[in-house]
C-alpha cells in the first residue's frame, strides 16, 4: 500500500492559513470579551488574605470561620490562603515587587518597616480597634506597626516564648529551683546534660526560635546592635564579647549536639522525642504534648524569661495585618480588619489557641483563655511584664534593623563562634562589619 504524505491531504498554504486564523481567534477572544457588555448582575466583591500556617490548627480554623461568616454577611468573596511561615517573606517580597497579590497579608516581626512604602495607612482601623474598651496596644508591638508616625500595620498577636521543661527529670537530677537568670539556667543545664537530658536551642536560619533566644541573650548581657540613635553600630563592645564567650560555654556544656543546624521545629521534635529536658519555645510543644503525648504534658511546665547581668529582656515574634497599596479592595479590607479585631471575635480566636497567642493590648490579659490552664500563664506574664524589645533596640525600629534581622547577623554572631569558625573577637568583628554595611545604606 503506497504511503500517503501529509502534503497530499492538506496543502502547505491551507495549513498555514488555518494556523494563522486560529492564532488570531485565540488572541482576539479576550479583547472581544472586554468589548462585549458584561452581564447585568452586580460583580461580587473579593478579598484575598494571606497568612502563615499557624502551629495551632484550631486558630486557623476559627479565623477562616469568622472570615467566611463575615464574607457571607457582607457579600464579599473571601479567600484565605495559608503558607509556611518561612515562605511568607519571599511571598511578601514577590507581591510588593510585582504590585499584585493578596489584599491583606499577615506579616511578622518588623516587616512593616521593611515594606512601608508598599503598605496602606491603616490609622483609621487602629483608631476603631483601640477605642474603649480595648484601649491602646502595648508599646513594643505598636512600634513595629507604626512607621515614622504612620500606622502601616494593625497589630494582631504576640507569640511569646518561655522555657518548657520536664518537671520529672529536673526533680530526679536535683534541680529543685527554677532558673531566673542565665547563670542559674547554665548551672541547671550542666546538671541536666550530665543527667543525660540536655537543653537545646536553635542556632540556624529560621524566622522564630533562633532570633527569639539570641537577641534576648545579647541584650541581657549588655550587648546591642546600635546605639539609641538607631544609626551608630555598637555591637563591638566588651559586653558583646562576654556574651559570645558565655554562648560558647553554653554550647560546650549545656546544649545538645546539632543545635547549629536546628530550625524552628527541631527543638519541638527533640523535646517530644524525650531527648531534651528544656528549651525556649512558644506553647506549641506543650499543646502537641497535651493532645498526643499526655505523659510528657503531665510532666512538663514552663518558666519565664531569664535575666542576664544587664537586665531581663526578651525577643518575641509579633504578628500584624497589613493592607497592600496595590489592592483594589482597600475599603473592604479595612472593614474586615475592624471586624476580626472586635473584642468578641478576637476573644474567640484567642480562645481557640488555648493560650498559644497573646493579644496585642493589655485589655486581652483579662481574656477567659488565661483561666483554662495555669501551665500557660508564663506566656502571658512574658508579655505583660513588658520585657520584650525589638530588633535594633535600644534604637528605634528601622529598615536596617529589619535587614539585620532577616540576614541573621545576631544569630550568626554566636553561631560562628560556637562552631569554631571564628574566635569570639573575630566573630564580634565580623558582626560589626556586617552591621556597618547594612546601617550605612
Amino acid at each position: 500500500m503506497a504511503k500517503v504524505r501529509l502534503g497530499q491531504l492538506v496543502s502547505r498554504r491551507d495549513l498555514l492559513k488555518r494556523a494563522a486564523v486560529t492564532a488570531g481567534a485565540v488572541a482576539s477572544a479576550p479583547i472581544l470579551g472586554v468589548c462585549s457588555p458584561a452581564p447585568a448582575a452586580v460583580k461580587e466583591r473579593e478579598l484575598h488574605i494571606l497568612q502563615w500556617v499557624n502551629f495551632v490548627r484550631e486558630m486557623d480554623e476559627e479565623f477562616i470561620r469568622q472570615a467566611e461568616g463575615w464574607g457571607k454577611a457582607n457579600k464579599v468573596k473571601v479567600k484565605v490562603e495559608r503558607i509556611g511561615g518561612s515562605d511568607l517573606q519571599p511571598r511578601m517580597a514577590a507581591s510588593v515587587q510585582a504590585k499584585t497579590g493578596p489584599d491583606i497579608i499577615g506579616i511578622q516581626a518588623n516587616w512593616a518597616w521593611l515594606y512601608a512604602d508598599s503598605l496602606v495607612d491603616v490609622g483609621d482601623v487602629v483608631e476603631a480597634v483601640t477605642k474603649a474598651p480595648v484601649g491602646s496596644f502595648y508599646d513594643d508591638i505598636a512600634m513595629q506597626a507604626k512607621v515614622k508616625g504612620v500606622w502601616k500595620a494593625v497589630p494582631y498577636w504576640y507569640n511569646p516564648g518561655t522555657y518548657v521543661y520536664r518537671t520529672d527529670w529536673f526533680k530526679e537530677a536535683g534541680v529543685t529551683t527554677l532558673p531566673k537568670t542565665y547563670d542559674e539556667f547554665y548551672k541547671a543545664g550542666v546538671t541536666m546534660k550530665k543527667y543525660g537530658k540536655p537543653f537545646g536551642q536553635a542556632m540556624g536560619h529560621s524566622f522564630s526560635d533562633p532570633n527569639t533566644f539570641w537577641y534576648a541573650f545579647l541584650w541581657s548581657h549588655g550587648g546591642k546592635e546600635v546605639g539609641e540613635d538607631g544609626k551608630t553600630v555598637a555591637i563591638n563592645s566588651k559586653e558583646t564579647l562576654a556574651a559570645v564567650e558565655r554562648a560558647i560555654e553554653f554550647f560546650d556544656n549545656v546544649w545538645t549536639r546539632g543545635v547549629l543546624s536546628w530550625d524552628d521545629s527541631s527543638n519541638n521534635r527533640a523535646y517530644l522525642a524525650e531527648e531534651l529536658s528544656c528549651t525556649l519555645n512558644g506553647a506549641s510543644i506543650y499543646f502537641v504534648a497535651r493532645k498526643d503525648f499526655p505523659k510528657i504534658a503531665q510532666n512538663s511546665d514552663h518558666f519565664g524569661i531569664l535575666a542576664g547581668p544587664a537586665g531581663r529582656y526578651g525577643q518575641v515574634l509579633f504578628g500584624h495585618h497589613v493592607i497592600m497599596n496595590y489592592s483594589k479592595n482597600v475599603a473592604v479590607a479595612k472593614d474586615f480588619l475592624k471586624y476580626v479585631m472586635q473584642p468578641d471575635n478576637y476573644s474567640k480566636w484567642l480562645q481557640s489557641g488555648g493560650g498559644y497567642m497573646v493579644g496585642p493590648s493589655p485589655y486581652h490579659e483579662k481574656d477567659p483563655v488565661w483561666k483554662t490552664d495555669t501551665k500557660v500563664l508564663p506566656f502571658l506574664e512574658a508579655v505583660s511584664s513588658k520585657v520584650f524589645r525589638w530588633p535594633g533596640w535600644p534604637g528605634p525600629p528601622s529598615t536596617q534593623a529589619s535587614e539585620a534581622l532577616v540576614r541573621y547577623i545576631i544569630v550568626d554572631l554566636f553561631a560562628k563562634a560556637c562552631s569554631g569558625e571564628f574566635k569570639p573577637i573575630d566573630s564580634v568583628n565580623w558582626a560589626e562589619r556586617q552591621l556597618k554595611g547594612i546601617y550605612k545604606g
Binding site: 488570531g24 515587587q97 536560619h205
Partner: protein, 316 residues
C-alpha cells in the same frame, strides 16, 4: 438575531471558508510564507519570542538590577559596579564563592568516577538488565525537593538513621548538618547520589555505540580489561564525557534546591552557594541589586566553562 462575534472566528478556524480577514491580505501573507526564506524565520518566531521573554529579558533586567541600588518595592538608580565591589568584599560572599567551587568540583569528579563505574557494570550481561537500568535512574528522576527531604531526615540531628546504625556499633556519628565541614560533605554526598545515574546512563549509551570488533581485536592482541578500557573505552567516550561534564558543571554550579532544602546555606552561612546567597540577599533581605550581583557572578564562570568545552568538542 445577531450572532455572537466569536462564532465567525471559530468557523474560520474550522476551515469552513468564512473569511475573518480581508481575502487580499491573507493571500499576500500566504504567498510570502510559500517562500523558504520567509517561512524559516516565521516558524522560529514563537521559539524566539519565548527565549526573549523568559531568558533574554530577565537576564538583561538582572544586569540592570545588579548595576542599581534597587530594593524590593523601591525603584533603584544606577550605581555602577558598587554591588559587585560590596559583595566581593563581604566575608559571606567570599566563603560562598569558595563553597560553590568546592561543591561543583568535588561533586562532578565523583559523579564522573562513579558514573563510569556504574556504566561499566550496567554494560555487562545479567538477569533483569532492563529493569536494573531503569531502576538506577530513580535518584535522578525523583524531584529534587522530595529526595532531599528524605535525606534531611536521614541526616537529622535527633532522628538520623545513619547515626542510629553507627550508635549500634559503638560509633558516635557526626552532626551531618550542624558541625564544621559536615554540612558541605552532606550536600556533596546527596548531589553525587542524585547525579551519578545521569552520568552512568550517558556513559552506558556511549559504551553501547563502541564497535565490538575493537574489543575483539584488542582481545586477540592480548589486551587485559584495564588496557581495553584505557585505550578503547575511555578515548571513545570523550565526546560524551565532555557534554555530560558541561551539563553537570552548569547544573551543579547553579544549584539551589538541594542546598535550600538540606541546609538553607547554614549553619551560619557555612554551606551557602551562589544560588542560595542570591536568594537570601535579594528576596529575604530585599536587596535586589545585591542579590542580582551575586547571581550574575555565576555568568562569567559558566561562560568560560562552556567556551572551553565547545572548543574541546570542536577539536575532537
Amino acid at each position: 438575531m445577531t450572532r455572537p462575534k466569536g462564532t465567525l472566528l471559530l468557523k474560520a478556524a474550522a476551515g469552513e471558508g468564512v473569511a475573518a480577514f480581508p481575502r487580499a491580505g491573507l493571500r499576500a501573507v500566504a504567498g510570502l510564507l510559500e517562500q523558504d526564506r520567509f517561512l524559516g524565520p516565521a516558524l522560529m518566531v514563537p521559539a524566539l519570542a519565548g527565549l526573549l521573554l523568559f531568558v533574554a529579558y530577565p537576564f538583561v533586567y538582572g544586569i540592570w538590577l545588579a548595576l542599581s541600588d534597587s530594593y524590593v518595592g523601591r525603584a533603584g538608580s544606577f550605581v555602577g559596579l558598587q554591588n559587585f565591589v560590596q559583595q566581593f568584599r563581604d566575608d559571606i560572599f567570599q566563603k560562598t564563592l569558595a563553597n560553590t567551587f568546592e561543591y561543583t568540583i568535588v561533586a562532578c569528579v565523583f559523579k564522573f568516577i562513579f558514573g563510569l563505574g556504574m556504566a561499566a557494570a550496567l554494560n555487562q550481561r545479567y538477569p533483569l538488565k532492563r529493569f536494573v537500568q531503569a531502576a538506577v535512574l530513580l535518584p535522578w528522576i525523583i524531584p529534587t525537593v522530595l529526595s532531599t527531604l528524605a535525606w534531611l531526615w536521614m541526616f537529622d540531628s535527633t532522628f538520623s538513621v545513619f547515626n542510629y546504625v553507627l550508635k549500634r556499633v559503638g560509633i558516635e556519628g557526626p552532626m551531618w548538618l550542624g558541625e564544621r565541614h559536615w554540612p558541605m560533605i552532606s550536600l556533596i554526598i546527596v548531589n553525587i547520589w542524585r547525579g551519578t545515574p545521569f552520568f552512568g546512563v550517558c556513559f552506558l549509551a556511549g559504551m553501547q555505540t563502541i564497535p565490538e570488533e575493537l574489543y575483539e581485536a584488542a582481545r586477540i592482541d592480548g589486551a587485559g580489561s584495564w588496557q581495553k578500557f584505557w585505550h578503547i573505552t575511555f578515548p571513545l567516550l570523550i565526546p560524551v564525557t565532555t557534554v555530560v561534564m558541561l551539563l553537570s558543571i552548569i547544573l551543579t554550579f547553579a544549584d539551589f534546591q538541594l542546598i535550600y532544602v538540606l541546609t538553607r546555606g547554614g549553619p551560619a552561612n557555612s554551606s551557602n552557594v551562589l544560588g542560595t546567597l542570591a536568594y537570601w540577599v535579594g528576596i529575604y533581605a530585599g536587596n535586589l541589586g545585591g542579590g542580582a550581583a551575586v547571581s550574575l557572578t555565576m555568568f562569567p564562570v559558566l561562560a568560560v566553562v562552556i567556551l572551553l568545552t565547545l572548543l574541546a568538542l570542536r577539536r575532537g
